[in-house]
Amino acid sequence: MTDDFDRILDECIDRINRGANLADCLSDYPAYAEKLKPLLQSMHDVRKTYAFTPSADTKRQARQRFHAALDRQGRMPTPSLFLRVIRQPAVWATIAALVLAVISVLVIQPVLNPLTVVPSPEGNFAFLISDEPNDIGDFESLNVTISRVVLQGAGSLKRLEFTPETETIDLTQLQGEQSREIWRGNVPAGQYSHVYIYVSEGTGKLASTGQIVDVKLPSSKLHISMLFEVTDDTVTSFTFDITVVATGNNGKYILKPQIGESGARQEQEPLE
């Protein structure tokens, strides 16, 4: 009996936590209502006493710190044992020439000569843009022009680039779950570790004043470090989430990648 009551009380607390009201729960359990009511009322009193919601501004600042740390962590993985060894001066001096040769072959040449891939509606890779709402509400429109996208292959896979079929997108139309495909084509199967998008222009119209403002990037490109896999037999959709944030109270805005909202997924339907 007590166990039954404990379960019903627990269920009511879960329901209230999810937004239901006390009366709904009592009406569902009339046999227990007399005993439940004072306990749930006590819960209500305690919650009311300690109720507070951090302001949107406070939450936004904390979110920015968190995502900045997330971005830094993505760019600076924990050094491997190999890296710790080669950081020893004596070891470094011995293998420097070899490393330079390897870098020349595996890194510099691919960078200078990335593989350019062309769009195809039947391709195995789709690239989408989305927008995590931070300060996008300040804008009536925010047009961003992406001149090219670069995928860095992991291991021996070559670096490749493509030009979006849709170059200019309005981020105000891509908030939250909204996204827009800007390229689809065939890319070599394998693992990729970095995605770069090069933004040539960002121009926004402020909703409050109608003023046109340039939206800057911290550098010429937005970068996400994330390991994902492309296969030959399914379509891999990669969503690159961009967010716009105010840099203070000076009316300036910058674009940033949102690693937490970006990523790859495979579509269920296999390619013919």
Binding site: M43, E229, A264
Partner: protein, 178 residues
């Protein structure tokens, strides 16, 4: 756009994505959880932000713990809260019991809220440490009894029993207007 269900092959990146996905839902809840412990809203907000930064730094250690990530976040929140209270104790600053709520424009309303705050805080202090933690995680963290059990190392039934006993005790101390 949340793509947490995708097939990213790096475990760490999956955890990072999962953690980022929990931010929106749990930042406020963690701030309230901390506030109940320390009675200071500004510090509670700072600690809530610190919880996510600490979780990010410690993601590797999360992999071996076998509890839902939101439960793990509350463990971090608990540890940071204990650290904070220790520091406050060493500095011998404002004791928790004497924290005064912000004064509103209406002094009568403010006085009533302060009295109510004192009444509930006093009742909460009468609970055992575990009962208080169950109430805090259930009422303010929004965790299920199963998730609370994972954090406290208890079964679901034990948590439900502790929860009922705690609320009955609170009711007895506070009284209820019906």
């Amino acid at each position: 756009m949340n793509v947490g269900g995708g097939r990213n092959i790096s475990g760490m990146h999956e955890y990072e994505t999962q953690l980022a996905g929990l931010y929106e839902e749990y930042y406020d809840k963690i701030a309230r959880y901390v506030y109940v412990h320390i009675g200071n809203k500004e510090e509670a907000k700072d600690i809530a932000g610190e919880v996510f930064l600490k979780a990010l730094k410690s993601l590797k250690s999360y992999q071996d713990r076998g509890i839902p990530m939101q439960g793990w976040l509350f463990r971090i929140a608990h540890n940071l809260t204990v650290d904070y209270l220790r520091k406050m104790d060493k500095r011998r600053t404002v004791p928790i019991d004497s924290v005064v709520l912000a004064v509103s424009d209406n002094p009568i309303d403010a006085a009533e809220r302060n009295i109510e705050f004192g009444r509930v805080t006093e009742a909460m202090k009468q609970l055992t440490t575990e009962q208080r933690e169950v109430i805090n995680l259930r009422f303010f963290g929004g965790l299920t009894s199963s998730e609370v059990g994972g954090i406290l190392g208890k079964g679901d039934g034990a948590v439900r029993e502790m929860q009922r006993a705690a609320i009955e005790k609170l009711r007895g101390i506070m009284g209820v207007e019906i």
